[in-house]
Amino acid sequence: MPDRFMSILLVEDDAKDVKLTLHALQSEKLCNQIDIARDGEEALDYIFCRGQYAGRSADSPPRLVLLDLKLPKVDGLEVLRAIKSDPRTKPIPVVILTSSKEESDVVAGYQLGANAYIQKPVDFEHFRDVVKRLGLFWLVVNEPPPPKAFQSG
């Protein structure tokens, strides 16, 4: 049974991609809440509980962030940098889930502290499989960072 902290933040600007990703994630019933940010700024507001998310409790960080790179306003790498350079959010697992595997993106992603880098496969069955395994690993197999991990620094 997923606990109440089992939420995923999906950062994705493309509505069709949101639909497909949600479809893939929900078909496996891995978590009970998927929040969606449609641009980099919204993602940062969500994570740092400000702006339209000012009411959100900082005590319940998402268990996983699925981050697209090409985003309006603040791009994905900037979002990643912000998350990984703040001790309060650094432990949140961030998986880059994007269209391209341009070497420069992969390099920058890992240098900024991404926990994984995944290119979205064009083949939908393949994509669904990847998302399923991704969810299984990060939400079930992986030991999440305990609350203490977010207080350090």
Binding site: D17, L69, K70, S100, E102, S104, D123
Partner: protein, 505 residues
């Protein structure tokens, strides 16, 4: 300096000595007869001096000696009494002897100094005349005082013309101010170590001169040496122009490279997204609404998904091709045999159901970028696998031979081959010699092979015959310089060989 000259020179002092002493003795005996034996040495002092002056040391010494003999033994015969009678006379002789020896010494020293100076002068003059650089002595008054002959050759003016006007008049108007400044510096005692100006020639043209000059203030003179650097200056200007041009082109290339990078980046992100959506929603349609679709509609959807996959492969291949173009080679000596075996075992696994015979001959170690080389082998070998799939037993051979002192690697198959009249199209992007339903593909694989081989400075070419098979050859690095163009020794198909040299865009 012949022997005659030497002997004449050698005899001269003695002739001089004997002559002057004889003259002195004669003077002493006849015009000065009235003096008697007093002032015995009167005429002999000048005689020795003359001998020293004209004959040098040896003449002076001989003259001294002969003078003593004359006074002691010859003159007494004419005045009928001895000149040397008492100790005073002997003292006179001693004084004469000592004085004259001293004179000889001084004469010699003077003569030598003079000779040295003359020689130094002559040497300086010789070098001055000989110099390839322009040498000059110029006054603080602005006029040349002395010029070496090369001035005439370089400027076309005669020396007289150059001396007749202030030198500033020959200087290019634009360089005059700077030249005046340099002259003023020299008037203050500073040397000029590096200065360039233009001098006008008689034909109106200008020559660039590079100067070095030192002033001698007490003489109000400047000693200068200049070199004609017109030619090297021209070369320099040309090089500068070429460098500027090169810089401009490099900048342009960098800009277009950046644009290309931005383009491929955008393609790699944005072109794939719609494909993903088409495939995703087609699949969802099939999953959720399959029962509502007719057989025909389901077939259409399957076709849509098929096309999406093809396009996705195309985008990947194109991006791959673009990336190879941008990529720097990281060369290392690589064993091709190992690389081929890796690729072969991979391909074997993927076509396990087929009857295939692999013949991998020993292959050389070559200097290449191993990951790109692997890409070449993957493309060539998977082509061989693909185009031989209609054979009951596909035979694929990889080997090498020496040609023009460098190894040629080849991949041969017994597949469908191709008609040599289409060989031109083989390595071009998007060119395919088979229908998509016969052999799937994007038409980029061989273009990638060509690009990689080209980056290695090698060449790639192919031979084929319809329904018999194909051979692909490649080399790495430029061939040794020989004219022999013996057609690929290991080639299976004689005749026309088409080459794609590394120079091909």
């Amino acid at each position: 300096m012949d022997m005659k000259h030497l002997s004449r020179y050698a005899w001269r002092p003695y002739v001089v000595a004997i002559t002057v002493v004889a003259a002195a003795a004669a003077l002493r005996v006849w015009p000065l007869h009235s003096l008697g034996v007093s002032l015995a040495w009167l005429t002999f002092y000048p005689a020795v001096m003359v001998a020293a002056l004209y004959g040098g040391t040896s003449a002076a010494l001989l003259g001294t000696f002969l003078s003593c003999l004359a006074v002691l033994f010859v003159l007494p015969l004419f005045v009928h009494q001895p000149f040397i009678k008492d100790s005073t006379d002997w003292l006179g002789l001693a004084v004469f002897f000592a004085t004259c020896t001293l004179i000889s010494g001084i004469a010699e020293a003077t003569r030598r100094a003079q000779a040295r100076e003359n020689q130094a002068m002559a040497e300086r003059d010789r070098f001055f005349t000989l110099s390839l650089d322009l040498l000059c002595v110029a006054g603080f008054d602005g006029y040349f005082k002395r010029l070496n002959p090369i001035w005439e050759r370089v400027t076309g003016w005669t020396t007289e013309e150059l001396l007749s006007k202030p030198f500033l008049e020959f200087v290019h108007p634009e360089d005059r101010e700077a030249t005046i400044l340099e002259v003023q510096n020299q008037q203050r005692g500073e040397a000029v170590l590096s200065f360039k100006n233009r001098y006008q020639c008689k034909d109106g043209s200008y020559r660039w001169l590079s100067w070095k000059s030192i002033p001698v203030e007490e003489e109000s003179l400047m000693y200068g040496t200049a070199r004609d650097i017109t030619e090297s200056r021209k070369e320099e200007e040309k090089t500068e122009r070429l460098n500027a041009e090169l810089g401009r082109r490099t900048a342009e290339l960098e800009v277009s490279n950046k644009e290309l990078e931005a383009f491929t980046y955008s393609v790699s992100h944005d072109l794939r997204a719609p494909l993903r959506h088409i495939d995703g929603f087609s699949k969802l349609l099939m999953d959720a609404h399959s029962s509502e679709l007719t057989e025909e509609a389901r077939d259409y959807v399957a076709t849509i998904r098929e096309s999406t996959k093809e396009m996705s492969q195309l985008v990947d291949d194109l991006l791959n091709l673009a990336r190879i173009g941008r990529r720097e080679l990281s060369l290392q000596v690589t064993g091709l045999k190992t690389l081929v075996e890796e690729v072969v075992s991979n391909l074997k696994a993927r076509s396990a159901s087929r009857a295939m015979e692999w013949k991998v001959q020993p292959l050389p170690f070559v200097e290449c970028d191993p990951s790109l080389m692997k890409q070449v082998l993957i493309n060539l070998l998977s082509n061989a696998v693909k185009f031989s799939r209609q054979r009951e037993l596909a035979v694929i051979e990889v080997g090498s031979f020496q040609q023009d002192n460098q190894p040629v690697i080849f991949v041969r198959d017994n597949g469908v081959g191709f008609d040599m009249k289409y060989v031109d199209k083989l390595f071009a992007v998007f060119q395919r010699l088979h229908r998509q339903e016969d052999f799937e593909g994007t038409g980029i694989g061989l273009a990638i092979v060509h690009r990689i081989i080209q980056k290695h400075g090698g060449r790639v070419w192919a031979e084929g015959e319809l329904n018999k098979g194909a051979v692909f050859y490649f080399t790495l690095g430029s061939p040794a310089k020989t004219d022999s163009k013996d057609s690929a020794a290991g080639g299976a198909y004689a005749g026309q060989v088409h080459e794609y040299s590394s120079g091909r865009g």
